[in-house]
């Protein structure tokens, strides 16, 4: 028995060593003939669409096959930075505008402006181009999906309370939204606890929501003073913070669980009718409703709430080419194919996000009321690019300053004055470091 175990173990070890010494993967000539495309699609439909488009490209261009590599949102930053620093980069990669402008500033990306054809330049919305354009006119990525925050409501809850849902002709103001949320907050069992909250908003890592929704109040947070970015939290920036805080603690019309949860994590509670409205959720959240809502659950999309305007901030998802790529022209040809009118529409539909091309938005699929596309698409005209786009250090600022301070504020550990003071003070420490670095 002992000998059998020893012989078995020896065979396993020898086999493994032989396997390791064999040529692995397709390393030999793949690096010279294949374009490597790192995609961040991760939902089932989006993955299938990306793979299908790459397969179509490969069938049409056997001389220049594309290798599809599925990256992940949580790790792509480290993956790319290591690649940029060592020169071992993918030829095309998928990421988001707020991050790639930082890469562009550090000289890692190819300027795509000279390679963009007029058809694409004219069709992609200006707001999308604004998210990737550098002050010198360089374009660091081709935008193809636009992030847009939407609000959702439970049709039956509003109907039972005799509340007429808002429309684009008659949108709700934030004051009206507050009032409706109070009316919809009910203790049906009369046991002293709230059984249904008027609203919920995922406030974990809330910087994104706060920044983008504050634009409607005229808030910008990032300003340029003497050519340098500084953060200011003035009256306009404080309005949204104050409104949400009041709804949480004075009105008690926003579910307290909002403070520790992300928007998508609140969807099951929305299905269980624990909240009548869910605001500040990405347009892609509709996918969960269409695919997983209980059969008797009827829902609708709230047009952007009106503060001074109905404007909402946006960022885009992009395809870029690293400067270290040796096949820039070929990579751009692939991007043109990937982001053609037809393919961009397929990508947007499968990811449930707004396409960056105006011609796509006109298609019937993007105006379907049953899936909420009609209101989502109509909201696109309110999308604006925040002043923070292109600010050096914005990504670090968001994770190290804005998110933690806002978390403390919304959980009631800081007053509005304390929170805004800390945001200004700590933000400018981070930003000044980037600006001193000359990046």
């Amino acid at each position: 028995m002992k000998r059998f175990i020893l012989v078995g173990a020896g065979v396993v070890v020898l086999g493994t060593i032989v396997f390791l010494l064999l040529p692995q993967g397709e390393q030999t000539d793949s690096s010279t003939t294949r374009l490597r495309f790192v995609s961040l699609a991760w939902q089932e439909q989006a993955l299938a669409t990306n793979r299908a488009i790459v397969a179509e490209w490969n069938a049409a261009h056997p001389e220049l096959p594309v290798e599809y590599v599925q990256g992940t949102w949580n790790s792509v930053h480290d993956y790319l930075i290591t690649g940029f620093e060592t020169g071992d980069v993918p030829d095309v990669f998928h990421y988001e505008s707020s991050v790639i402008v930082d890469f562009a500033m550090r000289g890692f990306l190819t300027d795509l402006a000279p390679m963009i054809e007029p058809e694409m330049r004219d069709d992609i919305l200006d707001v999308a181009w604004a998210s990737v354009r550098r002050p010198d006119g360089a374009i660091c990525g081709i935008p193809f999906l636009m992030e847009s925050f939407i609000g959702l409501y439970d049709v039956d809850a509003l109907s039972a309370a005799g509340i007429t849902p808002p429309t684009f002709e008659r949108p709700w103001t934030w004051e009206e939204f507050r009032s409706v949320a109070r009316r919809l907050t009910v203790d049906t069992t009369e046991d002293g606890t709230v059984d249904r909250w008027g609203a919920a908003i995922g406030l974990r890592n809330s910087a994104n929501i706060v920044m983008n929704l504050s634009i409607g109040f005229g808030g910008s947070f990032f300003r340029k003073v003497d050519g340098q970015y500084v953060v200011r939290a003035g009256i306009e920036e404080r309005e949204l913070l104050s409104t949400i805080h009041t709804m949480l603690y004075a009105d008690r019309s926003i579910a307290p669980s909002s403070v520790g949860q992300s928007g998508p994590a609140m969807i099951p509670g929305f299905f269980q009718r624990r909240y009548a409205m869910l605001i500040g959720i990405g347009a892609w959240g509709r996918q969960q409703l269409v695919e997983n809502a209980p059969r008797d659950f009827r829902w609708g999309v709230i047009p952007p709430l009106k503060a001074r305007t109905q404007d909402i901030g946006t960022s885009t998802q992009t395809l870029s080419i690293p400067k270290a790529s040796k096949r820039t022209a070929e990579a751009m040809a692939f991007i043109r194919f990937m982001l053609s009118k037809e393919n961009m529409a397929r990508l947007a539909l499968s990811d449930w996000m707004l396409p960056a091309r105006a011609s796509c938005l006109e298609q019937a699929e993007f105006n379907d009321p049953a899936t909420g596309w009609d209101v989502t698409t109509a909201s696109a005209r309110f999308l604006k690019t925040g002043t923070w786009t292109g600010a050096p250090g914005y990504v670090e600022w968001k994770s190290r300053v804005a998110n933690p301070v806002l978390q403390e504020f919304f959980s009631g550990r800081l007053s509005l004055d304390e929170a805004t003071a800390r945001i200004e003070e700590e933000s400018n420490v981070v930003l000044s470091r980037y600006q001193e670095d000359g990046r």
Binding site: E44, T72, S75, R204, N208, N292
Partner: protein, 278 residues
């Protein structure tokens, strides 16, 4: 007196049962979620067992991702790095424990110090070094990295155990005519089975669960390890495809559990076996 002992036993066992539940609950929840249809996951219903169990998530992970390939890759680098690390560490630990020189403490301090380096600091130089030897995008390169990663801790752990083995036993073996290598592998090693078992488990689980090196060093989709594959079920800002992620995580847990089951008897019988060895 008897009643007091009974109550103490009862409380001890109740505490242990609660602790067991605390430890096992996440595993049970993960297994249950892997069989729960997506609509049921999103319904927010709190139930330990799925209402209508389904294999959809297992089907998804096998059809959509190269789970078996990545498991195979993880298994290969895990086994190889574990074997190499333990085989190097065992004589190294013996030498450090038995041959006293003025450098011993320096070496041990260096080993301990190497553990405090953040991975991100060594990543770029390591990548460049491995690339110069054509070892990026290669399971051999990844295995070497895992050996280097596990070796200091394994060496440290075995060194502590070797010091607990009475020198008299080795001297008796030497009087009986055993050579130095015979003493190490036939006398000391069996006494160290619990430590070797723990080292094997540590080195294997470290390699099996490692993510960042595999992510950065491997480019070919066919050479990805399981942890990199698992991450593909997560999306922006902490979102995840919960069902497929749970199913893949169940599969990822199996080898470590099996290895622990296999090594468990070493933990309990190693020293006894050594003590009675003739």
């Amino acid at each position: 007196m008897k009643t007091r002992t009974f109550i103490a036993d009862l409380l001890t066992h109740a505490g242990l049962i609660l602790f067991m539940i605390f430890l096992v609950f996440p595993l049970v929840w993960m297994i249950a979620t892997s069989f729960r249809p997506t609509a049921e996951i999103y319904s927010g219903t709190v139930a330990l067992l799925p209402e209508s169990p389904s294999l959809d998530h297992y089907r998804t992970i096998f059809l959509e991702q190269k789970i078996f390939t990545s498991m195979g890759n993880s298994f290969i680098v895990g086994i190889c790095s574990t074997l190499i690390a333990v085989l190097i560490a065992l004589p190294g630990a013996y030498a450090l424990a038995r041959y006293s020189t003025r450098w011993n403490n320096v070496v041990l301090g260096w080993i301990l110090g190497s553990q405090i380096f953040p991975v991100i600091l060594v990543m770029i130089p390591l990548y460049i070094l491995l690339r110069s030897m054509a070892l990026t995008d290669s399971l051999i390169g990844l295995t070497l990295v895992y050996v280097v990663w596990a070796l200091p801790f394994v060496l440290w752990m075995l060194h502590g155990y070797v010091r607990t083995v009475p020198l008299d036993i080795e001297e008796a073996a030497a009087i009986d005519g055993a050579s130095r290598s015979q003493i190490i592998f036939r006398i000391v090693a069996p006494l160290l089975l619990p430590a070797i078992g723990a080292s094997v488990l540590f080195a294997f689980v470290s390699a099996w669960n490692e993510f960042f090196f595999a992510l950065v060093l491997m480019k070919d989709p066919n050479l990805m390890t399981l942890q990199v594959e698992l991450a593909r079920f997560t999306g922006m800002e902490g979102q995840a495809r919960t069902g497929p992620l749970a199913a893949a995580s169940v599969l990822a847990t199996v080898p470590s559990v099996v290895l622990f089951g296999f090594l468990q008897k070493w933990f309990s019988s190693g020293l006894i076996a050594g003590a009675v060895k003739n």
